[in-house]
């Protein structure tokens, strides 16, 4: 095998053919932990879990990239050895571990999962502390449920809310459970009832059917953001005037849906309102009042819908 690149060398730009990386040079500007696997990287769940568990401990800003292809191992001179490199933001190798050549505090008989987990944690520790202290975490028991959280900033009702979220947290759960905005309701949690309706960039959407991490950079409006001080939005007032609710559970979704729907190009008839509002279910059956409320705001006379 050729000699592996050492500390202080320029990291070559290579294409990383893994699921989470592209060209190495694309990552300039942030510290990179490059893991090179000698054999084909098969992201089975077991390995993913270990990898994400290790990743969980990484400070923000560190990119972990993974390569298993021979051009990468050739460019770094690692041959068929497993290896890990820390590359600083300017593209210089600042730490290296090549199995069989360099030493880690514990060696021998590692499974590939253990190697990956240890190497990432090691590399991250070195990249950030230039010390060895956090390494103990690499040998923690098999992770059961360690999911990477990140700071997700949601702009809700005009305010930026930084939240620490796993990727799998829906916008609905982020609003209710992390931001404390419980006006948005969870009904079916499968996109069928409309109770979770909010606005994203002025359009009505279902907050249960999207992940919060996907909604960064968008303007989110919830029922809490509709009134201006003590002045209700005209749709809110109309729901009161026309008895558009009974138990109230579906109401914030109905109102969020209606406030967006009145800006959509629907016809003027009651049947248009019913069709346009069909994504909002009301178990109490307040539909006649809901149609009347929406029609009153649209300036249409509901035909026999009031009560």
């Amino acid at each position: 095998m050729s000699t592996p690149l050492g500390v202080g060398a320029n990291a070559p730009d290579v294409t990383l053919s893994t699921a989470d990386a592209n060209r190495l040079a694309d990552h300039r500007g942030s510290p990179v932990v490059l893991i090179i696997d000698s054999s084909h990287w098969d992201p089975t769940r077991e390995e993913m879990t270990a990898r994400l568990a290790a990743w969980h401990d990484l400070p923000h800003g560190v990119q972990v990239v993974h390569a298993s292809n021979s051009p990468v191992s050739a460019a770094f001179g690692t041959g068929d050895h497993d290896a890990a490199f820390v590359i600083d933001p300017s593209g210089i190798i600042s730490w290296r571990y090549v199995s069989g050549i360099d030493a880690l505090p514990k060696s021998g008989g590692w499974s590939r999962r253990e190697f990956v987990q240890a190497a990432i944690t090691f590399a991250a520790a070195i990249a950030f502390t230039h010390g060895i202290h956090p390494v103990a975490r690499a040998w923690a028991a098999e992770p059961e449920h360690a999911m990477a959280t990140s700071t997700v900033t949601l702009r809700v009702n005009g305010r930026d809310l930084p939240l620490e979220l796993e990727p799998r947290v829906t916008l609905l759960d982020a609003l209710r459970n992390y931001a404390g905005l419980t006006g948005t309701k969870k009904g079916c949690d499968h996109g069928q009832c409309g109770a979770c309706t909010v606005h994203v960039d002025g359009r009505r959407v279902l907050s249960c059917m999207t992940f919060a991490v996907m909604q960064q950079g968008h303007d989110i409006t919830t029922i809490e953001g509709l009134a201006r001080g003590d002045t209700l939005h005209p749709i809110q007032q109309a729901f009161i005037t026309h008895d558009g609710f009974q138990c109230g559970y579906c109401t914030s979704g109905q109102i969020m849906s209606a406030t967006a729907m009145v800006k959509e190009p629907w016809g003027t008839a009651d049947s248009d309102v019913r069709e346009a509002m069909s994504g909002n279910i009301c178990r109490c059956g307040a539909y006649p009042g809901i149609v009347a409320a929406v029609q009153s705001v649209r300036g249409n006379n509901p035909s026999g819908a009031s009560r």
Partner: protein, 328 residues
């Protein structure tokens, strides 16, 4: 829901490079998030492609140089449905979209995601039940189970699940093309070949290769598509999947049908183009007898089961009514 790794793709090439066998692209999320909550979909990586629409035509409707329209993969159902060029030139497309889902879902769900929807078969969605589509070789619970909503056309002894998309039924009637991109380049797949019959492998649903990404759906120029419509019959008046539906376009001259396009939804394991019905229409006078013969031809190969025999009659009448309306 299982843990997954999330990445926001910054470009088309980045998205394609980020994709792999264990990853899924996510845009609207209305199918994928739903199925991930049910544990039916378990991707290790999610590649968010929404940002790709910001500096490209991927989220818009554009005119094709030789006529026709290009529907960007990331265009939302509602945007395409309300687009005046779609409404005027291809009413069947606009109607198929507006008769699908709800206002909220249409604001989220994309055109490409729509044709990639998974079946609404209740056994597919229930991980406690055997399903050959979800778990190859485990068996089909619908064959002897409750199969009222299931298919009568294109079925196999492994799967009788319907394809749920309304849009895809309109697209197959129009001979639309799916444009797909991968690291190997761009290719065009006729929509008729895009969805595949279940046969012995119901887990295979479409012609996309792992990591391949739909970038657009092209509607070819078709002058008589102006005379087209989508008729949908379902268990409730709105926000329900089709029990039977018909997409029809007719070139009518002096009361005689010169050309016709017919496709059926809610009854097939894939969006069901019926050339049999088209042959029964072309050259004939547009009248009830012609429509009846065409509808009978469309359903001639139907294989009803215990609970879905009504669909044969329902689809026949749906098609007859659609043809009556489109020619009147």
């Amino acid at each position: 829901m299982i843990d997954f790794d999330y990445r926001r793709a910054t470009s088309l090439d980045d998205a394609i490079r980020s994709a792999g066998a264990s990853s899924k692209f996510i845009a609207g999320g209305t199918t994928l998030v739903d199925l991930m909550k049910l544990d039916v979909e378990r991707p290790a990586h999610l590649v968010d492609i929404n940002a790709l629409g910001e500096d490209s035509n991927l989220a818009s409707v554009t005119e094709l140089p030789g006529g026709g329209l290009r529907l960007g993969a990331l265009a939302r159902m509602s945007d395409v449905a309300w687009d005046p060029r779609v409404r005027d030139g291809y009413p069947v497309v606009s109607e198929s979209l507006l008769l699908a889902a709800s206002g909220q879902v249409r604001n989220m769900a994309t055109i490409a995601g729509n044709i990639m929807q998974r079946t609404r078969c209740w056994y597919f969605r229930d991980t406690a039940m055997p399903c050959n589509k979800r778990e190859p070789g485990s068996g089909c619970s619908a064959l002897a189970g409750l199969n009222r909503i299931h298919a009568v056309l294109g079925t196999s002894d492994k799967c009788i699940a319907t394809h749920p998309s309304d849009l895809a039924v309109a697209l197959v009637a129009l001979d639309a093309n799916v444009i797909a991109r991968s690291s190997a380049g761009e290719r065009t797949v006729p929509i008729r070949d895009f969805h595949v019959l279940p046969e012995q492998h119901p887990e295979r649903e479409h012609a996309l290769r792992p990591g391949e990404l739909i970038t657009a759906i092209d509607l070819p120029p078709l002058s008589f598509a102006k005379r087209s419509l989508y008729l949908k019959v379902r268990d409730r008046a709105s926000f329900a999947f089709a029990l039977a539906s018909a997409a029809v376009a007719v070139d009518l001259q002096g009361g005689v049908i010169r050309a016709a396009r017919v496709a059926l939804g809610g009854v097939g394991t894939k969006p069901w183009r019926s050339t049999e019905a088209e042959r029964a229409l072309v050259g004939r006078k547009a009248n009830a007898a012609t429509f009846r013969a065409a509808a009978d031809a469309a359903l001639a190969g139907a294989k009803p089961r215990k609970d879905n025999a009504f669909k044969v009659r329902l689809a026949t009448r749906t098609l007859e009514r659609a043809l009556t309306q489109v020619t009147s």
